[in-house]
């Protein structure tokens, strides 16, 4: 164990990547492909593709509680138990509340996956591009700070990552949701297609599309080279896929990086802080606590990428104090840990459709339909800022009469009835990053490795409430006009965080006085440190953010390596 701790040479790399999730995996792939000796630090255990997916091929009856999480675990871990994917088949990939406590001045459901691959193992795989309607949002509407990039800066990098990841989608030709490099889409259902046509015919600027997702519907050579195969529509992705049908660090970027011979992956390694050298004016490495031995050790590199996932990236930087940076690495502006935000997922609506009685679906789709944001796209038109995207899914329900007992009941169980089509939608609302929304370190409490406990302080605001109301109104109107019946709206009142789209705190911006990172995700004040996970986000928009993290990461590594070669960093 201490072998690599004894020799300085064994602890020195070209690049260090903190985190192995969806963005860290990309940093690892890009650095190692470009020939840099790269150390990837992961705080949790290793999860090897295929080998470490213990439940992946289990049938429903093989789960002792048929999927349910036992009561004692739920009671002890209320936060993680609220996550939709925290079920008996995938609970081993999630962090229990009791394992790593954090402070919540306001309720925040922090959903974490501490293992190689991070949350890329269990993500919902939705991959929608941003457009300039998103990047120009803060400047147009006067919140947060202006993004230092525009769509044209990131578009080629979206293409670059999409080709490798494998994204299933349609070329929809929408300016607010640019097309990408797509594998063929799966089919929409009869009712999804009906609603798509209905919306197109009745609303000028609203569209229902096939939601783009990271599934190999038709693997290309680059995917076969990764050892991945076609998506088999199991829709059990959260267990890890035996076919590599969806993208994860585990199935894709990490093994790809390993094949270069340039990767050193070190699980069980919690980063305490980044080491700043006052003379050189640079970061020289990281302090790591081995979670098995509790030993602290140092690793060194020319460039450091922080991809610990949004909250932990903030924490690592806040804990990286020095004479030069008493308030956290690169924090001259004082904005570190501030302007933290998320997505508003509180609203949902359901109904039924009495048409297409003679039709149904066959097999299982891992994705659904999607309505890109239609509010305030071209100009401000409501009493709230920004807007929301919405998922839209349908299916044929079944009804089983469970009255009675004996042969009567048994006959009913054997002969359940096909119900009408159900329709449902949920909102994904943009929230406004605010200075008062923060990630901070506790001044008293420390975790088992002596690292200060994290406090997360973010809540809903009036804008979120108005947006929720508008989602209900607009969707109810669209559902009603489309002939859907039995319509019910619901406010889950869920805490921020359960969206699992937390962002910000280390935002990008043009001005070092009001932001942490420049347009290359490079720290204004410490140019060999880059942040390319959710922490870098200046605003949140409405799209699932992972695709953007991946594109920003590949772009930033390309820039960092160029700068290294030029001797600039």
């Amino acid at each position: 164990m201490s072998k690599d701790n004894t020799s300085l040479q064994n602890r020195t790399f070209d690049a260090i990547v903190i985190g192995s999730g969806i963005s860290g995996g990309w940093a690892a792939k890009e650095f190692t492909e470009k020939g840099l000796k790269t150390l990837v630090l992961e705080r949790g255990r290793d999860v090897k593709h295929l080998k470490d997916y213990p439940t992946t091929s289990q049938f429903p009856w093989e789960f002792p509680h048929r999927g349910q999480v036992p009561e004692a675990i739920q009671t002890a871990n209320p936060v993680i138990s609220r996550c939709y994917a925290y079920k008996e088949d995938a609970m081993h990939f999630f962090v229990k509340d009791t394992d790593h406590p954090y402070g919540q001045p306001k309720p925040f459901d922090w959903i974490r996956g501490y293992q190689v691959g991070g949350k890329s193992l269990m993500w919902a795989r939705q991959t929608q591009r941003w457009s300039d309607f998103d990047f120009e949002g803060p400047a147009r509407d006067g919140f947060a700070t202006d993004w230092p990039i525009r769509y044209k800066d990131i578009a080629p990098w979206y293409s670059y990552v999409e080709k490798f990841v494998g994204i299933s989608g349609n070329k929809d030709g929408l300016p607010n949701l640019p097309d990408g490099e797509f594998l063929p889409p799966l089919e929409l259902s009869c009712v999804e297609n009906y609603f798509k046509d209905f919306v197109k015919d009745n609303y000028k600027d609203r569209h229902v599309i096939y939601a783009r997702c990271a599934h190999l519907t038709q693997p290309q050579q680059i995917h076969l080279d990764q050892g991945r195969g076609q998506c088999q529509k199991r829709d059990l992705c959260q267990r890890g896929c035996p076919f590599g049908g969806y993208f994860s660090s585990n199935s894709s970027t990490i093994p790809w990086a390993e094949k270069t011979g340039n990767l050193t992956l070190r699980p069980f390694s919690v980063v305490h802080s980044i080491i700043y050298d006052e003379q050189k004016g640079k970061a020289t490495g990281v302090r790591v606590v081995d979670t098995n031995t509790k030993e602290m050790m140092e690793y060194y590199a020319k460039v450091i990428f922080v991809n610990a996932a949004a909250v932990n990236t903030n924490a690592v930087l806040l804990n990286s104090t020095s004479h030069r940076f008493p308030n956290g690495l690169g924090n001259d502006s004082g904005v570190l840990g501030k302007y933290f935000a998320f997505h508003n997922y509180r609203g949902h609506i359901s109904g039924q459709y009495d048409g297409f009685k003679d039709s149904t679906t066959d097999g299982r789709s891992p994705t659904s339909a999607y309505l890109p944001r239609f509010r305030n796209v071209h100009k401000q038109e409501t009493d709230f800022l920004r807007g929301y995207a919405a998922g839209f899914s349908t299916g044929r329900g079944s009804h089983t009469n469970t009255n009675g007992f004996g042969k009567t009941l048994k006959d009913q169980l054997f002969n359940s009835e096909t119900g009408p089509w159900y329709v449902g939608s949920h909102m994904m609302g943009e929230t406004i990053p605010k200075e008062i929304s923060t990630v901070t370190l506790d001044t008293q409490k420390k975790d088992e490795w002596g690292i200060p406990q994290i406090n997360i302080n973010v809540g809903y605001d009036d804008n979120d409430e108005k947006m929720l109301k508008d989602f209900f109104e607009q969707m109810t109107e669209m559902f009603t006009k489309a002939g859907f019946t039995n319509i019910h709206t619901g406010d889950s009142k869920q805490a921020p965080g359960l969206d699992i789209h937390e962002m910000g705190g280390v935002r990008m911006g043009n001005d070092p006085k009001t932001s942490m990172l420049n347009k290359w995700n490079q720290m204004h004040a410490c140019n060999n440190v880059f942040v390319t996970d959710g922490a870098c986000m200046t605003s949140t928009s409405t799209q699932n953010p992972s695709l953007t993290y991946m594109a920003l990461t590949a772009r930033a590594v390309d820039y960092a390596v160029q700068q290294l070669k030029k001797g600039e960093i």
């Binding site: 509680h65 004692a72 259902s189 009869c190 059990l236 009685k357 007992f405």
Partner: protein
């Protein structure tokens, strides 16, 4: 613990086969075939539960709930997945259920004839609320019996076939005419 229980479930067929050839006098044991953490049930109660789930879903030309171990699934779920107050309510409900059996049929549930068991269940089905513990016991047990049955290997491979790897998705296909399945 879960693994132990799964193994226990697999063992069960052997256990019940063994029990069947033992003389009745040797079967006087109050041990259950499972180790439970939170609730305490004796061997007779387990037997009663086995007959109850079988009355709820009886063997016909197809297996009944007892053969599919629905009573053991019920115990595991009650032990692991219910709140303490519901576990207590279920346990006292089990006793009240036995009292109701004695009151109606003059026998415990185990001693009752199939017809007597059915008339007891008819009485519980007729009462719509589960505000008393016996009704709670009956309804929770019935719900878990149905879950055990419809998520069993038998049901998901022979009746309503579960596909682990569909390998296809079609968004709009004709709904096949329903053929009645023989229960």
């Amino acid at each position: 613990m879960a693994v132990t229980r799964r193994a226990a479930l697999k063992q069960l067929l052997y256990v019940s086969a063994g029990m069947a050839i033992l003389p009745a006098c040797l079967q006087h044991t109050s041990r259950t075939s499972l180790t439970l953490k939170n609730i305490s049930v004796d061997g007779d109660q387990e037997k009663m539960l086995a007959e109850l789930v079988e009355t709820i879903i009886p063997a016909t030309t197809t297996p009944g709930a007892k053969e599919l171990s629905a009573h053991l699934f019920t115990l595991i779920m009650m032990d692991d997945c219910y709140k303490k107050e519901d576990q207590q309510k279920w346990l006292s409900g089990m006793k009240a259920f036995e009292q109701a059996s004695r009151k109606l049929n003059g026998h415990t549930f185990l001693e009752s004839t199939p017809a007597q068991r059915e008339s007891l269940l008819s009485a519980f089905e007729a009462a719509k609320d589960d505000k008393d513990d016996a009704a709670f016991f009956y309804r929770a047990t019935k719900r878990l019996t149905i879950e055990a049955y419809t998520s069993s290997k038998y049901f998901l491979t022979k009746v309503d076939i579960y596909e682990l790897v569909p390998a296809r998705y079609h968004g709009c296909v004709p709904l096949k005419p329903i053929t009645r399945k023989l229960a």
